[in-house]
């Protein structure tokens, strides 16, 4: 059988392969990486009956334009995404959270994410990709991932593992994209380094998400945090969501491709259940932080897991 593949007619701004990420390797200086919005990534695979951790294409803002040069496949796109499918039958406006069949010669045009940042494209059976340390996630800065970790480029051939065999299509109806402005934070290891007055401001005044935001970190500006102890600490391990505060007092929220260790004090950490929503916020948006207890964060996490399970349970055939 001939190898099925997509040809890249437009790569998009920041298109990479991602799965859940790499684990058990951070002590080597290798960040976990993985899909920024885990929930959307997961649902793209579940819609296609794929194994949960099958690699997807993650795109930001503008996605790729792909031509199915050879083969037959089924796709699912998740996130708040505007896309079109061009086939011999004409042009279809695509709906996210629904599967579509693509035949040889069809084109998939992922035009933009709406009022959000990241979206995911999965295909039935997955893309044909080499794993490194158990994952296909790309980290362009460290040359790690398929094709030496490079972002998806013009004219790339993206190989498809197998042709589609599933007849029916599926959908998750009524996915809502809610506006979220307040993000919950747990105190960090150097919470006590910062003045009470400036922490009070941090947890009550707005912070603007700047354009200096990528898979590695989100820089926000607002009232700066006043460090009373030391703005450098011996480097220590970092987990995504940590809010580090360098000497200038402006917080940086560390995201999935964060450095594995860091020497800036951390005032707090975004709770896990708020992470997927946080990374979907556009730059120039104002957000607020609120301090919560560990018990509250754990309860929110249980709800987050429940919500995902509920979405999976309402998948229906079209």
């Amino acid at each position: 059988m001939e190898q099925s593949y997509f040809e890249v007619l437009r790569p998009g701004i920041n298109s990479t392969f991602q799965d859940k990420g790499r684990f058990g390797v951070q002590y080597m200086g290798l960040a976990p990486g993985g899909a920024m919005d885990y929930q959307s990534f997961l649902l793209s695979n579940v819609l296609l009956n794929n194994e949960k951790n099958t690699g997807a294409i993650e795109f930001a803002y503008q996605g790729p334009l792909l031509k199915l040069a050879k083969g037959k496949t089924k796709i699912a796109i998740t996130g708040n995404v505007f896309f079109k499918i061009y086939s011999q039958k004409g042009e279809v406006n695509g709906e996210p959270y629904r599967t579509y069949d693509l035949n040889e010669g069809d084109q998939l045009d992922i035009l933009a994410t709406k009022a959000s940042v990241y979206g995911y494209l999965s295909i039935e059976g997955g893309f044909k990709l080499d794993k490194f340390c158990g994952s296909v996630s790309s980290q362009p800065r460290a040359f790690i991932g398929p094709n030496d970790g490079k972002k998806i480029e013009l004219k790339d051939k993206i190989l498809i593992f197998k042709n589609s065999t599933i007849q029916e299509n599926k959908i998750i109806r009524n996915i809502k994209f809610e506006e979220k402005r307040i993000f919950s934070v747990l105190p960090g290891p150097q919470f006590h380094y910062f003045s009470t007055a400036s922490k009070k401001q941090f947890f009550s005044t707005p912070y603007l998400i700047t354009k200096q935001t990528d898979r590695m970190g989100m820089r926000v500006v607002g009232k700066s945090l006043e460090n009373l102890v030391n703005s450098n600490i011996p480097s220590e391990g970092i987990i995504k969501g940590a809010i580090q505060v360098p000497g200038d007092g402006n917080p940086i929220i560390l995201l999935s491709d964060h450095p594995t260790t860091g020497g800036y004090p951390k005032v707090g950490s975004i709770i896990s259940s708020d992470y997927d929503d946080l990374i979907q916020q556009n730059s120039n948006k104002e957000i607020y932080f609120q301090l919560v207890t560990l018990e509250a964060a754990e309860q929110q996490f249980a709800l987050y897991i429940e919500k995902i399970k509920r979405k999976i349970s309402i998948i229906e055939k079209i």
Binding site: G188, S235, E236, P259, T261, L294
Partner: protein, 225 residues
């Protein structure tokens, strides 16, 4: 010994071994790291994403669906650290370095600030047996110590935008090697061609591990490959 264990996230805790940075404390961190890593590999501790040792801290990142900080803190506090053996698997590496002027971008300036000749700086660096405290920041990037007191120095006033790959650099009492092209503010005294992180090596991509020993060997430019 562990001074305290605190949450740094709903999916992460940090064990604090105190404020000092020295080998004895770091060896305790690494022995706990090795112990927990083994327990996690054997699935005796469930849902561990990563265990990250640093100079005097150990971070444990876990999946809240499979475990929680209460249970993990309980496991760690029940361990008798004195009984843990320090890394039996630690290795010694010899790393070739070329100290030629074209690579040793800050050596000239260091002769002034340290009031030592280039030869004295190089000789002191070569005589030191370095201990690997941690790997961090980027893949394969080792933090080693301790430098001879004569070489203690601060970081550059303004960091370089791009440090060449393989640069060997010093600051405070530590020595590092930059495995990737990256920004950096340490004083560069030489270059090595040793690949610290090799993505083609699927079983063991990272050359050195925390707890290993490193000696440097002076080579000329041609031997650098």
């Amino acid at each position: 010994m562990i001074k305290k264990i605190t949450n740094i996230s709903d999916q992460g805790i940090i064990c604090d071994f105190g404020g000092e940075v020295n080998k004895d404390i770091n060896k305790k961190v690494i022995s706990l790291f090795n112990y927990l890593k083994e327990k996690s590999n054997n699935d005796e501790i469930k849902g561990i994403y990563n265990i990250i040792p640093s100079y005097n801290k150990l971070v444990v990142h876990f999946d809240l669906e499979k475990n929680n900080s209460h249970k993990i803190k309980e496991i760690i506090t029940s361990i008798d650290l004195k009984k843990l053996t320090t890394s039996q698997s630690s290795k010694t590496w010899t790393i070739p370095v070329c100290y030629d002027d074209e690579f040793a971008l800050d050596l000239e300036n260091l002769t002034k600030s340290l009031k030592l000749s280039k030869e004295e700086i190089i000789k002191t660096h070569l005589e030191t047996e370095f201990y690997v405290y941690m790997i961090g920041f980027m893949p394969g990037h080792p933090y080693m110590g301790d430098l001879d007191k004569k070489l203690f120095t601060s970081r550059l006033q303004s960091p370089r935008v791009q440090v060449p790959i393989g640069s060997v650099a010093i600051a405070e009492k530590f020595c590092i090697i930059y495995p990737y092209l990256s920004p950096g503010g340490w004083n560069i005294i030489g270059r090595t061609s040793v690949k610290l992180f090799d993505t083609k090596n699927l079983t063991n991509p990272c050359l050195v591990s925390p707890g290993d020993t490193i000696k440097f060997k002076k080579v000329n430019k041609l031997e650098l490959k």
